[in-house]
Amino acid sequence: MQLPVINNAASEAPKGGCSAGSCGSTDDQMNHLPEHIREKVFNHPCYSEEAHHYFARMHVAVAPACNIQCNYCNRKYDCANESRPGVVSELHHPVQAVKKVLAVAATIPQMTVLGIAGPGDPLANPERTFETFRMLSEQAPDIKLCVSTNGLSLPDQVEELAKYNIDHVTITINCVDPDVGAQIYPWIFWKNKRIKGREGAAILIEQQQKGLEMLVAKGILVKVNSVMIPGVNDQHLAEVSKIVKAKGAFLHNVMPLISEAEHGTYYGLTGQRGPTHDELQALQDACSGDMNMMRHCRQCRADAVGLLGEDRGAEFTMDKIEAMDINYPEAMKMRAEVHAAINEELESKRLAKEAKVQLVSIQGIKAKPETRPVLMAVATKGGGVINEHFGHASEFLIYEASSEGVRFIGHRKTTPYCEGGDTCGDGESALDKTLKVLAGCEVVLCSKVGYEPWGPLESAGIQPNGEHAMEAIEDAILKVYEEMRVAGKLEAKVETQQKVA
């Protein structure tokens, strides 16, 4: 299978706002990966922007212990990094966790990936983590296994990881400089001692880098997560990105610090703020010249279940699972059919895109007039189409349309404007929140928009648009962008939206 043509076309086209990164269509992120990596990640929702519209993941909370402290984490409420700063509802023993995984996989056949992400550090709980992986690799060979770690004990565990065919590892690397690390990690537990400050951070950094190198040498895919902490490591992360790429990490996920005072973290209680949408995007763009950037991360809980951005955990509490009768070999057949259908859909989309690009290259690339980029928000339930009602959306995907094409920027969470029933009375304040969340966007695309939010959206400079229900996201965005161009709304009047090259 050859690499999609779009990449070649893009390299011939004159370079615009951004260089190598995630420009052009949203799945470019995948297209410039080597084939053997594409094969591994095409159905991994956390590693592939496109896959996350179709495939689901789950985490099992089997790993409560941690061997370091991070200033963005409060151990009383679990880890705010890999999980959202909520609590995991139930901690599981490995046998329970495996039962849960089989129940979810049989009920949600789109679930392709099982991760262990806490609520502590999975590799600080090697027995529980590896027992879970061992049982799953025997009982559910059609599920991909992955793990995330702070990296401290990673070098000691690489052999064991390779044994269970765990080919995706995420390391959270927030710095490569111990002076920066001392502001993020108050202590680590190392060789039977608690080591504080710079000395502890230096050991952690050394172990992370060593672990990264060992994983790459074993052919295990590594994604690096970094938490962007304004004033602490924001200037430093571009260097981190360069270094981890040079060592062979294939994807970098820069996430915003979450630090509400009520989470009780050091950062939350001492007033350390998280980055704004613009600051996050600027850093991601700055890093993207050197590295594949992940922009669709939802910073999910350590017990999340479902498509990214949704959590169906409540359907799979232990008491409900006990009542389910799961025949996994049968379920596996059904799952294979569902996966084949999704793959077919993805493949036909890819071919359609190739055909389009070939057409463009035959006709020659028309010198399009320089038009300014526009941010658009999309309400979707998945499947890569516009299929969510404005009032029901708990998050919006943000895309940038420009003369270069469409690129995915990120997602923004909100409270659904109208949840229906008794929460509707709160609709007005929820709308205010959504208006704030959509700041900078000029269009919001959804399957339907009610009469009431229409006016406030328009006066906030955000055009509601329900005309493209059930259409593919990128196609609809291009159409709307073209309409704006024809209407003379895209004159390059403002440079403020232009991204750093």
Binding site: P64, Q69, N71, R75, P186, F189, L269, T270
Partner: protein, 84 residues
Amino acid sequence: MALEIIESCVNCWACEPLCPSKAIYEAKPHFLIDPNKCTECASDFEDPQCATICPIEGAILNDDGVPLNPPGSLTGIPIQQLAA
């Protein structure tokens, strides 16, 4: 001579595998230390291991009922913020 785990324990399991005397056990509502087995790691380690990895300030007390990790000692959160 024995340490004690009190109710602020969050049941994170970090201490349990480290105890050289196997004095720590899972219990409800939180982990406990068997005072007959606990040696405070005297002959095994420089520092008592449970209190060395415990992330929760105040959760482990010494013989005199004094926390081995007093408020602010692990997170660096100023005490007035902790009280708030």
